[in-house]
Amino acid sequence: MFENADIPLESLPSVEEVSWQPIARSYLAELIAGHVVGLGIALLVAFGGTALGIIDTPGSVPKGVALYAAVHLLVVAVWSPLSVRHRGYALREHDLLYRLGVLRRKLIAIPFNRIQHVETTSGVTERLFGLATLVVYTAGGSGGDLKIRGLETDRAHRLREHILRRAGQADESG
């Protein structure tokens, strides 16, 4: 039996009233560690190479690299906690919400019945910190429509299973 009752707009569930889940705290550490490793390699090459005479550069170049590394780390140290604090996701009965952005803020909403597939990925540094990234695809965007970085691995897997199940149910009923 098909019903089509009139639904007052005020009674619609609102994206403003959801309880946002923060992402894992260790993601901050992973984020900074990633930058530290990258900069460390750059410093190692600059100083080590010069010391061993492999790189024949004036002494100011390693100093320049060091200065850059210091500034870069400072920016990362200030920015990353803000960036991590502003990220959050919310799982509702029919959709997945994600928000991010410190200055330019973004709220992304994907209904389960539009999800094509879901995957979890984890890179080397992510694995070290026991983290994973959840990627959700719809038919709309190019590449992943939604990437939630910094989820604990088992939570990411449970989320993926849940979303997959919900997407499947939505397909069957639709």
Binding site: L12, H94, G101, R105, K106, F112, R114, G140, A170
Partner: protein, 506 residues
Amino acid sequence: MSPADPDGWQRASPLSVLFYVGQILRGVARNLFQAVVPATAVVIGTGWATRDRLYSLAGALLVTLILVAVGRWLRFRFRIDEEGIRIRQGIFQREELDIGYGRIQGINTTQNPIYRLFGLVDLSLDTAGSAKAEGHLPAITADLGDRLRGRIRRRRDESADGEAGKGEADTDEGETVLALTPGDMVRIGLTSNGALILLAVLAPLVDQLGQRAGPWLERMFGPVAEALQDLSAGAAAFVAVASILAAAMLLMGISILGAFLRHHGYTLSSDGEVIRSRGGLLTTHEHSMGLGKLQVLRIGQGPLLRLFGAFRVVAKQAASHAVNTRKSFLIPLAPPSFVARAPAVFFGDEGRDLDLRIDGNGFHSISRRYVRSRTLLFGGIGAVAGLLLIAINVPLAVAAVSALLVPAAAWPLILRRYARWGLALTADAAVVRQGFVGTTLQSFLLRKVQRVDVVQSPFQRRHALVTLQFVLAAETVTVPWIDETVALRLCDRVLYRVESSRLAWL
């Protein structure tokens, strides 16, 4: 190939060899620079090329071409059964392609004059997948094409409400909703963007040509010019202008001819489920699309189309990002009366209350802050430009004037763009208007939205404004600078429509 078993494996008509020859030649042309040019250079450069050898080389290439084309035809088998269309092809690299009926978004057929003699068509299938997986049946009988259409329709009916099919052949074309006249062909030719772009590219060239030709023409028409002695200075200018005009006329002529070739006798018909266009002078093109596959309907009007009071309509289907223009259904020219009917034609019942007229008054405008933000942006660009000018020792006054000139020049354009932005909403659908020189409407059914983004820049946050983006399978529709609470309500509403919808979006 036995006609007694229409569901069995079949071979295309031997005439499909023609299609394959074309396909191979197109392939060669595409790789012209990588392969053919170096090869030719080697052949000529080494002095190997005598007249006889060149002839035999050309002969060998021709024979190879025909052999490959015949081989492709021999290896090509297809089958239309309950599940879908199966294609087996390839000489060296074998290809097996199965396309389920549900995945087919549209059917295109083209019929060139030779095929018409034999009642054959080239048929290609639009699918939502990558451009490469598209099925192509060269030189099959027109009856078979119709039968395929019927099959797809029958499947759709079954999946829609479980009723029995309406019959095998699909001869019922429904109601004709639009027919274009030869006059319309001229309008299409004049307004097609291709001609304008060509004109823009060629104009400087033509101008130079005119200048070069000037002295030569003067010599040729010297006596005439002498007769009009006082006008001889103006004559050169006249010649230049005349040659530009002549070139423009020629291009327009070509463009109009192209419109006649492609769209002559254009008709658009719909039976409420499938929309079908047919047109073409020598080669007839037929294109059909299931209306359920429509994602975004675009109605555009450039300045030239505005002059004619007409519109260009594109029905966009789900497409992978490997760009394939065939995946949109084009109506090259539509009068206002068609645009007024468009919601019913394309969206059926769900299109009720939807007003797709460009100057309709149902549009909510965006925030006035848009103008201020953009003006500030251009002011910033102007300031940077001014500083740069000072840095290269341009007098201060000149730099200051040019710094102010940028936002001043941008201002009316920003106002124009602001005035064009608009959003209108009905129970089931939405339409967004935007434009600059021309105007474009993007309309879609709320339930077809794939994803909603609410984006807010720092400047927007100060004034509680956001930019709303509806991501659909065909393209993204953006509504900038609207009130935050309104946008979130809209987001809620669209999500509700999507999540409570039990209809297939594709």
